[in-house]
Structures are given as structure tokens and as C-alpha cells.
């Protein structure tokens, strides 16, 4: 059985929980006391054990899960250009983590950092993402890469959908709001505290 070292309120851990729900892969969680215990400082979250392997870094783990369990090949496409585009979004996902997620760490967990600049930089990235989604919509597409959701969407989703907890409202980003809503309505979607499931 796959084991996820998990913190319920972590966007990085949620990425993996969400993806495993989409894949319908069974897993068990081991609770980690990220806050207030700060256990993560010795073991960076998230960590996933699968078979004999122990993996770190949420994007690396997403690639592992897609490669092993996604028979459809939809989530991490093999077509070279699409695959490169997904990988490019991993870098953007990290930038979002360093800005929007940092603002959330400040507001929710009391981390001491420059929250104003974190919010400003996050909004600049959100503007680019919003433009990208809006342009895709004109061409009839709803996802960050290609015609279907991919790991690019999974990688960027939690920190964007939790941005309000860091004082970054999404009112000014209508395409992002539609994209978030599209993710929430995907089959197999699971909520986390702060990201609601769609009404039944």
C-alpha cells in the first residue's frame, strides 16, 4: 500500500491526495505534525512511500504516480511538446508556492516573512495564468496544457485555490475562477479544509 506522510492543511500534500483520488489509487496516510510541531523541518513534506521507494518533492511524486498508475496516459502526456509544456508548469507551480503559499504560511501559520511582496508577486503570476487560461478558452480549451487536465493543473491547483487564506482574492482573475471551478467538478475530486467540494 502507498503511504503518504501527510499534513491535512498542506497544499503540497493535498496535491498528492487529490491526484491519487483522480487515479483511484488506494493509499494510507501517516499524520505529520507540521504545525505546531514543525516536524517537517527534519523531513520535508510531502514524502511518499511506494513499494521500496521513498520519494520527495510533490512534482516528482506526481510524475511517479502518473508513470506507474495512469494507464490512460492523460495526466503526463507522452507527446513531446505537451510533456515539455507540463514540465514548464512545474516551475510556475513552484513560483506560486514561493509567493501565494508563502503568504498563506504568514497569515495562517504565523511565519515571519514579507507578506506584501509575497502577495504582489503572487498576483503578477496569477495575472499570467489568468491570461493563459483566457486565451485557451478562446480556442475552446479549459486546461493549462492541451485538451484534458494534466499534471500541470494538479501542480498549480492547491496554492491557487487556497490563495484567499493568504489574503489574495481571486475576484480579479475570472478565468482562474472558472478553471478552479472546472477542477472542482472533475470526477473523483476530493476537498480539503479551505477548498470546498461542489454542492451535490
Amino acid at each position: 500500500m502507498i503511504r503518504l506522510f501527510n499534513y491535512e492543511l498542506s497544499g503540497e500534500c493535498y496535491k498528492l491526495r487529490l491526484f491519487m483520488h483522480f487515479l483511484r489509487v488506494e493509499f494510507e496516510t501517516v499524520a505529520v505534525d507540521f504545525h505546531p510541531g514543525r516536524e517537517h523541518e527534519s523531513a520535508q513534506l510531502p514524502v511518499l512511500e511506494d513499494g521500496g521507494s521513498r520519494l520527495r518533492d510533490s512534482e516528482a511524486i506526481l510524475v511517479h504516480l502518473a508513470s506507474r498508475y495512469d494507464a490512460s496516459g492523460m495526466w503526463f502526456p507522452v507527446e513531446p511538446v505537451a510533456r515539455a509544456q507540463v514540465a514548464a508548469w512545474f516551475a510556475i507551480a513552484r513560483d506560486i508556492t514561493h509567493t501565494a503559499s508563502a503568504a498563506r504560511l504568514h497569515d495562517v501559520f504565523g511565519y515571519e516573512l514579507d507578506v506584501q511582496s509575497a502577495r504582489r508577486d503572487a498576483r503578477a503570476i496569477f495575472r499570467l495564468v489568468d491570461d493563459h487560461v483566457a486565451e485557451s478558452e478562446i480556442e475552446g480549451r479549459r486546461w493549462l496544457v492541451g485538451e484534458t487536465p494534466t499534471l500541470a493543473d494538479i501542480a498549480c491547483f492547491p496554492d491557487i485555490a487556497l490563495s484567499h487564506e493568504g489574503g489574495i482574492a481571486r475576484d480579479d482573475f475570472p478565468a482562474i475562477r472558472r478553471w478552479v471551478d472546472g477542477m472542482r467538478h472533475l470526477d473523483g475530486f476530493v476537498a480539503m479544509p479551505g477548498i470546498l467540494a461542489p454542492p451535490r
Binding site: H35, P36, G37, G110, G194
Partner: protein, 292 residues
């Protein structure tokens, strides 16, 4: 009259109230920088005496009042009007005291307390844990103010699918709520391990500003099976579910005139809390409609 007291006279802020600012275990020689009632605050520990020290900033001559109690460090900006409330369960043998952390919430302290006192939202916001449809009925309970001026709700009962980390099945849970001071609430609920005892869940809200708060969560309970991480995770999941609801409530200041907020829910404790706050004269994090 001190500067803080002068400000308070103007804006009704509870400067002479003990307010929780941190878990005591996290106050050390390195100052914690935070805010209280809109003012900057630095808190550290005197390495010689071990006592907490609170000041507007590290180099300041001015000192605020600071004490450690119930696992937290408490600060009053002006001379406290009364002693901190009593909590005998804190010393009770067999209880585990578990620090569940502090969480920033973008709303007023009274909103955070009011939500904590409300059982009506359990089946919707905490489905599968603290409530579940169709068990949505809040049975009648009693509300009173005791001789110390504390507000109580007693004889509350609610069916819960998973009342605590230690609960393996659904159970009828007895609740008692206590509001000893405006920004502190305690919940005494049936202990799944010790039916004759009550687990205590404490919520101490630190008003960073009028509509910015930090919620300090503490549990005093009987559970010899689960490790701290599992217990903390359970409580944090519940709080994480409350947070977006709390932050979406408008206005962010709690309206003390019941008619000011359109609500189909007639929640006795919520209404009592608002009346009680109004009577205390608190004018911070609340909206008061002048009487006509």
C-alpha cells in the same frame, strides 16, 4: 491615564483584558513578534527569571503585563481589570494537555468565538465528523450567566458520527459551552474514553486587529491511545473546515443587534453571546446599532 487606556476609552478595545498571544512553550529568549489590538507586540522570556516579558518592541522601555497560564502566554496592554478565569481541569491528573497550534483567520475575534459556540453548522460544515444529515436538529438547551459574569450553555446534546479521534462509532454527545471572557471559549464534551468525564477544548482568540485574529487551540483530554499528532490533526481538520466559512461571513465585525443580521437560525447561545458582549460594553470587533 496611560496611552493604552486613553486609546481604549476611545475605541472600546479590551486593553485591560488578559489575551492569549502564544503557546507558552514557544516563548523563548528570541522574541516573538506579533500584534495585539492593532498594536505591535514583542514577547520573549527573561532567561534569569523564566517569566514572559511583553513590550511594544524589543528595545522599548515600556512593558505590558504578561503571564503564563494553561499552556499559553497571556498579555494585557493595561492593568488587568480582573484575574484570568479558572480552569481546574488543567491540573487534573490523567488529562493530556495538547497544544493544537495557532491559526490566523481573516475576521474579528467575536466571529471566531460565535462560530465555535454554534452547533447548528456541524452536519453541514463537519459532515461525517461532528454531525451528519439527517441528524440536524439542535435540541433545546439552557443558557445562563453565572455569579462571576461568565456565560454558559448547558444540557446541549448532539449526535456525532466521530466526536473525537478516540470515537470509533457515532454517539450522542453532551456539550457544555463556557465563555469566561469575550475572546475565550471552552467546550466540555463527553469523553469517548471516560464517559464520566468531559474532554475540554479551549479556544483563545488573539485579536491582531479588529478584523484579523489568531485562534489558539488547546485540548485537555483523556485519550491513552492516540499520539499527539493524530489528536492535533483531528482538531486542525475541524478548524480548517470552519475557517473558510468564518472568513466569508459579512460583516466581519459581529453585529450585536440581532436584527442587523438576516438569519433563519435562531441559535440561543449565539444570541446570548451577542447580548452578553453588548452588556460588557465591548466595542472591538463588533458592530453596535444605536438603539432607536
Amino acid at each position: 491615564m496611560s496611552e493604552a487606556q486613553r486609546d481604549a476609552a476611545l475605541n472600546g478595545a479590551p486593553v485591560d483584558e488578559w489575551l492569549a498571544v502564544s503557546a507558552a512553550s514557544r516563548i523563548g529568549a528570541t522574541p516573538l513578534r506579533t500584534r495585539l489590538l492593532g498594536r505591535p507586540l514583542a514577547v520573549w522570556r527573561d532567561t534569569l527569571t523564566g517569566d514572559p516579558v511583553a513590550a511594544p518592541e524589543i528595545g522599548a522601555q515600556q512593558r505590558y503585563h504578561a503571564i503564563d497560564r494553561y499552556g499559553c502566554t497571556w498579555v494585557a496592554l493595561a492593568a488587568p481589570r480582573r484575574a484570568l478565569f479558572t480552569l481546574p481541569q488543567y491540573e487534573q491528573p490523567g488529562r493530556r494537555v495538547i497544544d493544537c497550534g495557532a491559526f490566523g483567520v481573516h475576521t474579528s475575534a467575536p466571529r471566531v468565538i460565535e462560530n465555535f459556540l454554534d452547533m447548528g453548522h456541524f452536519p453541514y460544515v463537519h459532515a461525517g465528523i461532528l454531525g451528519e444529515e439527517p441528524h440536524t436538529e439542535v435540541k433545546d438547551y439552557k443558557v445562563h450567566e453565572d455569579e462571576h459574569g461568565e456565560l454558559w450553555a448547558t444540557d446541549c446534546a448532539f449526535w456525532q458520527p466521530r466526536a473525537a479521534a478516540a470515537a470509533n462509532a457515532g454517539m450522542d454527545v453532551d456539550y457544555t459551552y463556557r465563555v469566561p471572557q469575550p475572546f475565550c471559549a471552552l467546550l466540555y464534551k463527553t469523553s469517548p474514553r471516560m464517559p464520566a468525564e468531559r474532554d475540554v477544548i479551549a479556544l483563545f482568540v488573539q485579536p491582531l486587529g479588529e478584523v484579523e485574529s489568531r485562534a489558539h487551540l488547546l485540548m485537555l483530554l483523556f485519550d491513552d491511545e492516540h499520539d499527539n499528532t493524530a489528536l492535533v490533526s483531528f482538531q486542525q481538520t475541524i478548524f480548517g473546515q470552519d475557517k473558510p466559512i468564518l472568513e466569508s461571513q459579512m460583516p466581519k465585525r459581529l453585529p450585536l443587534d440581532a436584527r442587523a443580521e438576516v438569519s433563519t437560525r435562531a441559535d440561543a447561545m449565539s444570541m446570548a453571546y451577542r447580548r452578553w458582549l453588548k452588556a460588557t460594553g465591548l466595542r472591538y470587533g463588533v458592530e453596535v446599532t444605536p438603539s432607536r
